[in-house]
Amino acid sequence: MIRFTNASLEYARGTVALHDVNLFIARREFVFLTGPSGAGKSTLLKCIYMDERPDSGEVKVGATSSLTATRTDVAKLRRKTGIVFQDFRLLEDRTVEQNVAFALEVIGAPRNTIAGKVSRVLTQVGLASKTTALPRELSGGEQQRVAIARALVNDPFVLIADEPTGNLDDRATRGIFQLLRDISASGTAVVMATHNLDLVRRSDYRTIELTHGEIVFDSASIAAPTGVALLDDDAGMTEAVL
């Protein structure tokens, strides 16, 4: 579903953010991305939703390749991708509800289904009581949960979460984590960058560690994971989703 082939990326200032990354993530798989601050985690995630493209090598998500994707292809890919940004990126002048609904409006969801979906997902992240608040009227953790709700609302086939629990207490973290696990179990590939090593250790999901843009550890290459997860089901998924 997601495949990095010799992907390297250097930023303008000479920072090597990704160096020869090779990676395959299957459908239904749940992957933790760890590593020190500045290791290139966010950059790797940006490559998945094609906000950045590698200087060399290829990133392929479903049928979309970083080598050939047009702006429209990228837009289409993102409609099927849920993204929780490290800095939330909420629309400042829209309420919680409108922020979440916006992601549905963009993909042209039928108008009458929107309200229902929005309120369901807001309840799931524990924000049912804040639907009409503006982002600036929310606490840090509440904003983060709005961002998560927006990423979940359109049933993505890939979910990317960049430090989604950095502002959450343990209980809320566990709740969100359970939500992401459910999503993954229902067939979505989930990639989550996190510094919360407790979370990583407590669960036994695949863990990839980056340092200076290089993959220095990938648990999938040590313990053989479940068969399903490793099946290259690119072709089948692509048909179904795009």
Partner: protein, 283 residues
């Protein structure tokens, strides 16, 4: 589409100040442009009125018999350039001079004027060349003592009309360009204020077309409102001038007025188009 229109309308509510500014700028620019256009229009109109008065007069020697004058008038009337030719008898000439020159009417108390033939030219022939040609032919009649047609004045008139036309075009264009620049910058600024919004839209999967549409609709609406406002302002200004200065002014006809509003819409649309494309290219 319905979503785009809704988004466009919502943006007025979200950023009333920005919207008001864009509209005011468009209105003000088009207003300045419109006022200037009206000045040109009125100058042209005035010149048209004046040039209707282009006339050539041939003065007969004292004692010329009226039949030869009548024959000459008949011949002159047949020239292709000539609209009409009339005989002015001394008495008429005097009365007319008194009437036309109010302040100096005492001058004419005891004036004597000769018989004259007065010729007016057709619209297409009111230029210095045609005037000279006709005057030459009139001077050839034996009984004509003198032909007068205000050479300087006609040359001057023609020159003013040409120059007014040219400066009108040039200054008008300059005004229009300034208007487009200001409007473009205003919309671009509105755009920058929403750069974050546009970026987020792109990140959640909105296509460029989807993002662009509400902005274009918004631009067109602002432009139309601005154009209508400008038209109203211009109309108001001219009616004030007309009323208090008792000038007779010409206003735009319906076709021009509608064209003005459409120009506003086009400017708004074009400004949005340029700005949104630039913003999208950057993001």
């Amino acid at each position: 589409m319905s979503l785009a229109t809704r988004e466009a309308l919502v943006s007025f509510r979200r950023a009333p100040l920005l919207s008001a500014l864009s509209i005011t700028t468009i209105a003000f620019s088009l207003f300045a442009f419109g006022l200037f256009g009206l000045v040109v229009l009125n100058i042209r109109q005035a010149l048209e009125t004046v040039s209707e008065r282009v006339e050539i007069r041939a003065f007969a020697y004292d004692g010329t018999d009226s039949r030869s004058v009548a024959a000459a008038v008949a011949e002159i009337s047949a020239y292709p350039e000539v609209l009409r030719a009339d005989v002015i008898l001394p008495q008429e000439a005097l009365e007319r001079a008194r009437r036309e020159m109010g302040e100096f009417k005492d001058v004419f108390e005891s004036a004597f004027l000769p018989t004259a033939i007065e010729v007016r030219l057709k619209p297409g022939y009111r230029d210095p060349d045609a005037v000279q040609r006709v005057a030459g032919k009139m001077g050839a009649f034996a009984f004509v003592e003198d032909v007068r047609y205000g050479e300087d004045w006609i040359n001057q008139l023609h020159r003013i009309r040409n120059i007014a036309g040219a400066t009108g075009m040039v200054l008008g264009l300059a005004f229009a360009i300034v208007a487009v620049i200001i409007i473009g910058a205003t919309i671009r600024m509105a755009m920058m204020a929403r750069a974050r919004e546009i970026e987020i839209m792109r990140l959640v999967g909105a296509t460029d077309g989807f993002i662009r549409r509400p902005f274009l609709i918004e631009g067109a609406i602002k432009g139309t409102v601005g154009g209508a406002l400008a038209l109203g302002l211009t109309w108001f200004a001219t009616s004030v001038i007309e009323r208090y200065l008792s000038f007779d002014t010409v206003f735009f006809d319906t076709r021009l007025a509608v064209a003005g509003v459409i120009a506003g819409a086009v400017i708004g649309l074009a400004g949005s188009m340029v700005s949104v494309s630039r913003q999208l290219r950057q993001a």
